[in-house]
């Protein structure tokens, strides 16, 4: 059975994923439209939206890093994380 803490953590993770995924989705989506269509209106709108989404993603990552930096438990957990491909000793 899931505890209330599990549920709260799941919800927090889901919100965090949503915060990061939404601008990423916009970048991917508008880039695809930019690639597939060559009309001026799409070019203007898509490029403006990509820049805006990149700013939003950058701000979300900054907020996330600030939050992680304030938590000893999270910092400790991060010592277990290695970039993909990096060997553990």
């Amino acid at each position: 059975m899931r505890s209330q803490r599990d549920e709260a953590a799941e919800e927090a993770l889901s919100i965090l994923a949503h915060e990061l995924q939404t601008p990423l989705t916009a970048i991917r989506g508008f880039a695809e439209l930019l690639h597939a269509r060559d009309d001026e209106r799409t070019r203007r709108e898509a490029s403006a939206r990509i820049l805006e989404a990149a700013e939003r993603l950058s701000a979300a990552i900054e907020r996330l890093l600030e939050t992680v930096g304030k938590s000893d438990a999270l910092m400790l957990a991060l010592t277990e994380v290695r970039p993909a491909g990096e060997e553990r000793e």
């Binding site: 059975m1 899931r2 889901s14 994923a17 949503h18 995924q21 939404t22 601008p23 990423l24 989705t25 916009a26 970048i27 991917r28 989506g29 508008f30 880039a31 695809e32 439209l33 597939a36 799409t42 709108e45 898509a46 939206r49 805006e52 989404a53 939003r56």
Partner: protein, 212 residues
């Protein structure tokens, strides 16, 4: 001809009218551009579930494309409310990320499909086409619901609705015209399916999943 203001967008060039319910401006604009040139036309754009309910009435769209995380309700709740109000419009629910049990929750609410907001135009159009053609389109990237969290039967849902309204087992039995033991069994089954131990938890969990 195309008309546009802050609330609605109409494009008479398409064939299937879609009401988009999405609170994020960036995603809304992507969907609007993505649908251009397809067989789908925007019947309108709602930012909240409340706006959507109003626009459904006024615009009578053929399809609903609904975000799960709306400011005032969950997308599943909106779809369920509309169905309960007798408006069974084929609906496709969107989420930003894959969620365990989301397809089952969407199905329980009465939606015909789910789609991840991946930013891929072909995925969005394909899912809309399936739902428009009367076939379901549940995105397989959502992991299945964990065992023990099966969907509630219509009878179980009826019991849960009465429990949520504050009825005791005896009152539920009397309302439904069944025996006390039957209600006890149904309540026990609901607890197992929702993974809870108390009535209040069952009600909270049911609200959380958009079952009530």
């Amino acid at each position: 001809m195309r008309t546009r203001n802050a609330e609605t967008v109409t494009d008479s060039g398409g064939e299937v009218s879609v009401l988009v319910v999405e609170d994020d401006a960036m995603v809304r604009d992507w969907i609007r551009l993505a649908l251009e040139g397809s067989e789908f036309r925007l019947a309108g754009i709602a930012h909240t579930a409340a706006e959507a309910t109003e626009l459904v009435e006024r615009r009578r769209p053929a399809l609903l494309l609904v975000d799960y995380r709306l400011p005032d309700r969950k997308g599943t709740e909106l779809v369920r409310d509309l169905r309960q109000a007798g408006k069974s419009i084929p609906s496709l629910l969107m989420t930003a990320n894959a969620q365990q049990g989301f397809n089952e929750a969407a199905r329980d609410a009465g939606a015909q499909g789910t789609v991840l907001k991946s930013g891929r135009v072909d995925e969005l159009l394909q899912a809309l086409r399936s739902v428009a053609n009367g076939t379901s389109a549940f995105d397989e990237r959502h992991p299945r619901r964990a065992p023990g969290r099966a969907a509630l039967s219509p009878r179980e849902r009826e019991v849960l609705r009465l429990v949520a309204g504050g009825s005791t087992n005896r009152e539920v039995a009397s309302t439904l015209g069944v025996g006390d033991e039957t209600v006890k069994t149904l309540v026990a089954r609901i607890f197992v399916k929702l993974g809870v131990r108390r009535r209040a938890e069952a009600v909270a969990e049911a609200h959380n999943r958009g079952l009530l």
